[in-house]
């Protein structure tokens, strides 16, 4: 799980892994991120995580040779913290009116809508990183049965809060946007608020569970928004 490192431009570098996406890989990514910030923090402008990458924007780049020998000494100093057991409960109204592709998707999978909902809401997903839109969480753990290629022609407008499936991923659109994923429901929870510090409530490494709610509960939460609770 010790990554390679490459310098892309004089001030942009990247750690990369060839291992498959997993909790274990995320654990290493977060550990290396913390260690690199601890050891070289003064010369780093910011870090960004992808599924198999960790980018470093340098103020002043550490030479690649120095970083590679730093990596070689890594197993000795790396304190591997286990990933968080914290799991956020995110309420979702699964229905045709809140997720326009719910029925077609169930049909294409040869399962009932109820089965689709219970499959999607019975798994704890791991939060890997934020990207795509402010507050959008990249989640890992979608049951294989629900993997679905993205739409060939993306929708021009997906409503904020939409819960959707695309490829081997599932996620929540934090704001209205075009999108190519299949919509199965909507969450009344706000995912990003630039007036709050921090602007999001979850952190990479934590978990997330979708919990089905009734139309009544959905309407109530839309009118009186709440932040999600930990399980």
């Amino acid at each position: 799980m010790i990554p390679g490192y490459r310098l892309i431009t004089p001030n942009l570098g990247e750690f990369f892994w060839n291992e498959a996406i997993s909790d274990e890989l995320l654990r290493f990514q977060l550990a290396i991120k913390n260690q690199v910030l601890e050891d070289f923090g003064d010369t780093i402008q910011e870090t960004r995580i992808g599924f198999q990458t960790l980018s470093i924007v340098w103020k002043t780049a550490i030479p690649a040779s120095e970083l590679n020998s730093w990596l070689e000494s890594m197993p000795k100093i790396l304190m591997l913290k286990s990933l968080s057991e914290d799991c956020w409960k995110v309420p979702v109204r699964y229905s045709s009116s809140t997720g326009r592709d719910l029925e077609t998707l169930a049909e294409s999978k040869n399962i009932s809508v109820a089965d689709l909902i219970s499959l999607h809401s019975s798994v704890e997903y791991r939060i890997h990183f934020f990207g795509f839109l402010p507050g959008f969480m990249y989640l890992n753990g979608l049951p294989e049965k629900l993997n679905t290629p993205r739409k060939r022609i993306p929708d021009l407008s997906v409503p904020a809060g939409s819960v959707a499936i695309g490829g081997s991923q599932t996620g929540i659109y934090p704001s209205e946007s075009p999108g190519g994923w299949h919509l199965i429901g909507r969450s009344p929870i706000r995912l990003f608020d630039p007036q709050l510090i921090p602007a999001v409530w979850a952190e990479p490494g934590e978990k997330l569970l979708f919990t089905p709610i009734s139309e009544k509960e959905f309407d109530l939460l839309i009118r009186q928004p709440k932040l999600p609770e930990l399980r």
């Binding site: 490459r6 310098l7 892309i8 431009t9 004089p10 001030n11 942009l12 990247e14 990369f16 996406i21 402008q45 910011e46 870090t47 960004r48 995580i49 992808g50 599924f51 198999q52 990458t53 980018s55 924007v57 990183f129 934020f130 990207g131 795509f132 839109l133 402010p134 507050g135 959008f136 990249y138 490829g167 934090p174 704001s175 990003f192 630039p194 007036q195 921090p198 602007a199 999001v200 990479p204």
Partner: protein
């Protein structure tokens, strides 16, 4: 300096007028793009001439047909594209400082060279700062594109601004420059030799699909590269889609993406790219890191 609130009133504008500064650095961990002026070079030049702070906010204008009125005296500065510009109906240069009195109107006509004009003001525009930046971005700031009758706040000085009639020259050679410095991206090695050669030797055309998020090029690079696990992307990252489209990500680009990242422009190339117009040609001039 007495800081009295004053307003620039937008009388007319095309799409793509926004307030920009150096952008939001350090919030990509929440999925927030950098944003910030497309042409940092012109942006910095303006704040330098105005003796502003280096991050003071300016107005970014990317379409002809802009007209606005100042309700109080100030000093402004134009830089970036070379445009037809009138102050109260009389032609003025679109490079450098212009003293403003109450009621002055400025009008921007044709873009003669370059594609983005900056209008800076003494002390900077005073719109809300959110996540440490005034740069407009949908979903973060209240406004993301200036509309007719919008009021953009600034501080008037109420005194005749000290103003050296400096003849500082703005170097416009970048507008015609075709060879633009670039580095191979993290996924460059996935390309076959033929595509690498095409990218190294070919000439590419800026398409009409150009905005603050990205610039799409007209030429295609047919490929059979796989879609990759989502990875960080930055302004200057060039993505290659499965359909062969080349997309240069710009300041408002999302922070992660799934397409192969075949090239990476360094910061200084972004200002040159920002000023390119649709149908202009560029070539990739490769650098070694």
């Amino acid at each position: 300096m007495i800081k009295d609130p004053a307003y620039l009133k937008i009388l007319k504008t095309g799409p793509g007028t926004s307030v920009q500064d150096l952008g939001r650095i350090g919030f990509s961990q929440f999925g927030v793009p950098y944003s910030g002026a497309m042409d940092h070079k012109a942006f910095s030049w303006i704040n330098h001439l105005l003796k502003n702070k280096e991050y003071d906010a300016v107005l970014e204008i990317s379409q002809p047909g802009f007209k606005a009125e100042f309700d109080s005296p100030t000093l402004i500065c134009l830089a970036g594209a070379k445009v037809d510009c009138n102050l109260n109906g009389k032609p003025v240069s679109s490079f450098g400082l212009i003293p403003i009195v109450e009621g002055d109107t400025i009008e921007i006509g044709a873009f003669l060279q370059g594609s983005i004009l900056y209008l800076g003001i003494k002390g900077g525009f005073q719109t809300d700062e959110i996540l440490e930046s005034k740069s407009w971005y949908q979903g973060i700031t209240a406004e993301y594109t200036a509309r007719k009758n919008a009021l953009i706040p600034y501080f008037t000085t109420q005194e005749i601004p000290s103003f050296t009639n400096s003849k500082a020259k703005w170097n416009t050679s970048g507008f015609e420059k075709e060879a633009i410095n670039v580095y191979p991206g993290p996924d460059w090695e996935l390309l076959d030799k033929k595509s690498q050669k095409q990218l190294s030797e070919g000439s590419f055309t800026i398409s009409n699909l150009k905005n603050r998020m990205a610039i799409q090029l007209e030429e295609l690079i047919p490929n059979s590269l796989p879609e990759l696990a989502t990875a960080p992307v930055f302004p200057g990252t060039v993505q290659l889609t499965s359909g062969g489209k080349l997309i240069i990500l710009m300041r408002d680009a999302q922070v992660t993406g799934g397409y192969p990242r075949i090239l990476q422009f360094p910061e200084e190339s972004l200002s040159v790219l920002a000023q390119k117009k649709p149908s202009q040609k560029i070539r990739f001039s490769f650098l070694k890191v």
